[in-house]
């Protein structure tokens, strides 16, 4: 006696809870693995799912087991040349397959002996681990508490809704159409019958015709009766206005990425700057419903460019940082009014600047940028000594401790820690 059951449509994700528990339990190790893999990754890969490898030792479940040593007699299959009494050197562990190594080859099915445990986490999980513990600086929600604000507006009609949304004209129109459809054949029949009646009535009366007339009149009456059964208005005809919720434009953010592309910026420095911007972008993307990015690059002159050009085109020349700051100030003023946008500015440079320009930079920042932005982050990517721009900026930092941050990056492994440092949770600006 057998029952055959199709379980394929049953829930599949039975292990989800256990999986989450595993991730939670090994949060620390996984976070470390995520940070490691961030350092190695190129930007294009940054927000993909990832293989995470953690040491298997950490995840082992101990139980009493035999250790190495002692006397054992083990039976093996496939004898070829041995006879009783043969002696030979103990083969090296692992040499020639697992065979000679593991006496208790079936003792573990979870792949004991591997020293690391690899599994996959999704993109979201990866980013969550990556940004864990970070919060956007001075996260001020400018436009309402907008994530939850919606606007209702009409979008078409439905057949089913509450009476207050009833659309009279459409309902009656539908009813009329239905009535026409349902009574069409009867009307035709009625018309032909009436015609017949008229022709008969015009003929001279005799008994046969009279009875025919009588018959046709009966038919006409029943038809009329039947027509009456078609209701004037049916629930089927009712039309209601349909409303849909659309989210109002929510908190918006814009990031201005400013990068020096002058001759002194080598490709590897640009590479590092690229990572910094990518991180920033990913991070801000997750905190705002819509995030715009403006790329401004400069040497002696500044220009707003697209992402591709920003990161990949080659330019050389001297360096005048203030040109970029001027352009930024203009962009902010014209396109990103403070009451609608959270403005973030991130500047990456190797610290090189035209000698007399740094002071101007400071002034520009102080007067036309810092008052209008949420946060200004400056990373100096150099392994050498600080140059004049750094010194000027240091003065600013004292004046705007909350809105202005600067850090030095030496190697690509530094980026993430520096990033964290820059954006470490800080009390929000009033």
């Amino acid at each position: 006696m057998s029952f055959i059951i199709d379980r394929r449509l049953n829930s599949k994700k039975k292990s989800t809870v256990n999986r989450q528990r595993f991730l939670k339990r090994y949060r620390k190790q996984i976070k470390k693995a995520v940070e490691d893999s961030m350092k190695k990754r190129s930007i294009q890969d940054m927000d993909r799912s990832s293989d995470i490898t953690i040491a298997r030792d950490n995840t082992s479940e101990p139980s009493f087991q035999h250790g190495k040593g002692g006397t054992q007699t083990r039976v093996y299959p496939g004898n070829k040349e041995f006879i009783t009494g043969d002696e030979f050197e103990r083969p090296e562990q692992g040499g020639g397959g697992q065979g000679n190594g593991g006496g208790e080859g079936n003792a573990s099915n979870s792949g004991e002996g591997e020293d690391s445990f690899t599994f996959q986490i999704s993109q979201d999980e990866f980013l969550d681990f990556m940004f864990d513990g970070l919060a956007l600086p001075n996260l001020v929600k400018k436009q309402l508490k907008s994530t939850s604000s919606f606007e209702m507006h009409q979008a078409g009609f439905t057949n089913d809704s509450s009476p207050d949304k009833l659309h009279l004209i459409r309902s009656l129109r539908a009813a009329y159409a239905r009535r026409i459809a349902l009574t069409g054949s009867k009307n035709n029949e009625l018309a032909t019958l009436k015609k017949q009646l008229w022709t008969l009535e015009e003929q001279p009366a005799d008994i046969e015709i009279a009875s025919k007339i009588e018959q046709i009149r009966d038919e006409i009456n029943t038809l009329k009766q039947k027509k009456k059964y078609v209701p004037f208005l049916d629930t089927f005809d009712l039309r209601y206005r349909n409303y849909v919720k659309t989210p109002l434009p929510s908190t918006k953010a814009v990031i201005l990425c400013i990068m020096d592309v002058s001759g002194s910026m080598t490709q590897s420095i640009k590479e590092m700057a690229k990572r910094f911007f990518t991180l920033l972008y990913l991070f801000i993307l997750r905190n705002y419903k819509s995030t715009e990015v403006v790329f401004i690059r400069h040497h002696t002159r500044a220009a707003e460019v697209d992402e591709q050009e920003f990161f990949y085109s080659r330019e050389t020349g001297g360096t005048i940082v203030s040109s970029a700051l001027e352009l930024s100030a203009k962009v902010i003023k014209e396109r990103f009014p403070q009451d609608q946008y959270n403005v973030y500015v991130a500047q990456a440079s190797d610290g090189d600047n035209w000698d007399n320009d740094s002071e101007l930079c400071k002034k520009l920042l102080q007067e036309s940028i810092l008052p209008f932005v949420q946060y200004f982050a400056y990373v100096e990517i150099t392994s050498g000594v600080h140059q004049n721009l750094w010194h000027e900026y240091t003065k600013l930092q004292n004046a705007f401790p909350k809105d202005f941050a600067m850090q030095q990056v030496r190697s690509s492994a530094d980026i993430y820690p520096v990033f964290r440092e820059l954006f470490a949770s800080k009390p929000a600006k009033e």
Binding site: R25, V75, G78, T84, D86
Partner: protein
């Protein structure tokens, strides 16, 4: 009088599965296979991985280790490093068998014969399963366990429950009764009695507490009584009943883990027999189908192809070698018993006078019902099969630089080989034998365990971790002594405090 084949292509349908199942059941009945009713469930690969993760059970309480197993399995599977089993079968009544939807019709038939009639009849017939498991109530018990643990998580916090389960899992292997079966309880009684039991147990822990010295005159006791008076093999049971500081719900969790361990205990000891029995029957049943003309030659070819790969035994020096394949050994032994019964040679008559020439079906059923791997091999491994598998044994003594071939498949080696192989399936060989030896009832309440050394094999490094878990459960110091067969203490472990000290 050949019949028409039941199907002619690889596609399966529910109707076809039903037809095959009916035919296989008919033939199985001819061979006196007594089974629980079957519940055949078709699942997909993802559900199969879920089942893998929860040790094959249809439902299980939540624990991170199952999540880890799931991640491991799915990673391996998705990267093509391993295939999934064609089926999983659960020792329950009705017997639940999971079939993968990817299987072809042939594979489904093979799996039905293998799991639903092979394993199923083994579960119902073998003495270990009959003694130790309640097929009828296991699913109910799982439901109970899952709910109970979920409730505990709600009440005492996930972390608390998780750490409790961690500790219990580490002692799971030592949570079984090997010799005495506790009286059976139905699940209804079980849940009814919990509250009662909790209170009852809590009162009984007082054996320890009442031992707080009350009479100061009797402090000098020349010979202290051991507690427990006999060494206790079931560590979890001992802790559940005697650990002084545990709360009732913690005891219940220990009990749940213990019950699960006990449920799986027979499977560990009958792997060779169980798989051998199932392979023997899928082979026999499907051949019978073919003889009747119900399946065509193409079906048989596909079937034989997977059959041979299942029972393939790589030689010891092959890169694929991973111990003796239980399917091979079991299947060949079953076939061998049949051969000894039907076509005994002179050698067989000498080695197996009691079964040579007897009706094979009865002999086979008898063997299935009354043995476990160790005794089964001891009883039935024939010289013929040892020669066929070219078995040989290696003596590995760590104190010597060389390995020695101690026996091969020849006249003087048969007995020794059989002995060694049987020994390899002795649980003492697989797991260290550790028992509760004493509790310092009048002292610091430390718990002393004894590890009875088997073939001079020491404990592995994980011992200290396990003792940490044990300490968490017991609440007082833990001591562990490795004892040789002559009763000499070779090594002592202690937790907390001190690294192991060699004596």
């Amino acid at each position: 009088m050949k019949k028409k084949p039941l199907s002619s292509n690889a596609q399966w349908t529910f109707e076809l599965i039903e037809t095959y199942d009916r035919e296989i059941a008919r033939i199985a009945a001819k061979f006196k296979l007594d089974t629980y009713p079957n519940q055949i469930e078709i699942i997909n690969s993802e559900q199969m991985m879920d089942a893998y993760a929860s040790v094959g059970m249809p439902l299980h309480y939540n624990h991170w280790s199952y999540g880890k197993r799931f991640l491991d399995t799915s990673q391996n599977y998705e990267q093509g490093r391993m295939g999934l089993a064609y089926e999983i079968v659960i020792n329950s009544d009705p017997c639940i068998a999971y079939l993968m939807e990817e299987n072809t019709m042939t594979m489904q038939a093979l799996v039905i014969a293998h799991a639903c009639y092979g394993h199923n009849s083994f579960f119902k017939g073998n003495y270990l399963f009959r003694t130790w498991t309640d097929a009828a109530s296991i699913v109910d018990y799982l439901v109970f366990a899952k709910n109970y643990i979920a409730k505990c998580e709600e009440r005492y916090g996930i972390d608390e429950v998780e750490s409790m389960l961690d500790s219990c899992h580490s002692l799971m292997n030592l949570g079984v009764n090997r010799y005495i079966r506790p009286p059976a309880l139905t699940p209804e009684q079980e849940s009814k009695n919990i509250a009662e039991r909790e209170e009852y147990i809590q009162q009984h822990i007082n054996t320890l507490w009442t031992s707080i010295p009350s009479k100061e005159t009797e402090v000098e006791n020349p010979k202290e009584q051991n507690f427990p008076s006999e060494p206790e093999e079931n560590l979890l049971y001992f802790i559940e009943k005697n650990a002084p500081l545990l709360k009732p719900w913690q005891r219940e969790i220990i009990r749940i883990v213990r019950k699960m361990a006990q449920y799986f205990y027979p499977q560990k000891q009958t792997q060779v027999m169980n798989e051998g029995w199932a392979c023997f029957w899928h082979y026999t049943l499907l051949h019978e189908l073919h003889n009747e003309g119900l399946v065509d030659d193409g079906f048989m070819l596909e079937f034989l192809q997977s059959h041979t790969s299942v029972i393939y035994q790589p030689a010891f020096d092959s890169p694929y070698f991973n111990g003796i394949n239980p399917y091979t050994l079991g299947y060949n032994m079953m076939m061998d018993i049949k051969r000894i019964c039907t076509e005994p040679t002179e050698e067989d008559c000498y080695w197996f006078p009691d079964i040579a020439g007897t009706p094979w079906l009865d002999t086979l059923h008898y063997a299935m019902k009354n043995f476990k791997d160790e005794s089964f091999i001891q009883q039935y491994l024939s010289p013929h099969l040892m020669r066929e598998l070219k078995l040989f044994s290696i003596l590995d003594n760590t104190s010597k630089p060389t390995l020695k071939v101690s026996a091969i498949h020849n006249g003087s080696g048969y007995k020794q080989l059989r002995e060694s192989l049987a020994n390899q399936y002795n649980l003492g060989y697989l797991e260290p034998n550790i028992q509760v030896y004493n509790v310092a009832v009048k002292g610091d309440r430390s718990l002393t365990l004894r590890h009875y050394i088997h073939q001079e094999r020491p404990l592995g490094d994980s011992a200290n971790d396990v003792m940490a878990h044990l300490h968490k459960l017991w609440g007082f110091n833990i001591k562990l002594e490795s004892v040789t067969s002559s009763g000499e203490v070779l090594k002592r472990y202690q937790y907390p405090m001190k690294a192991p000290a060699d004596l």
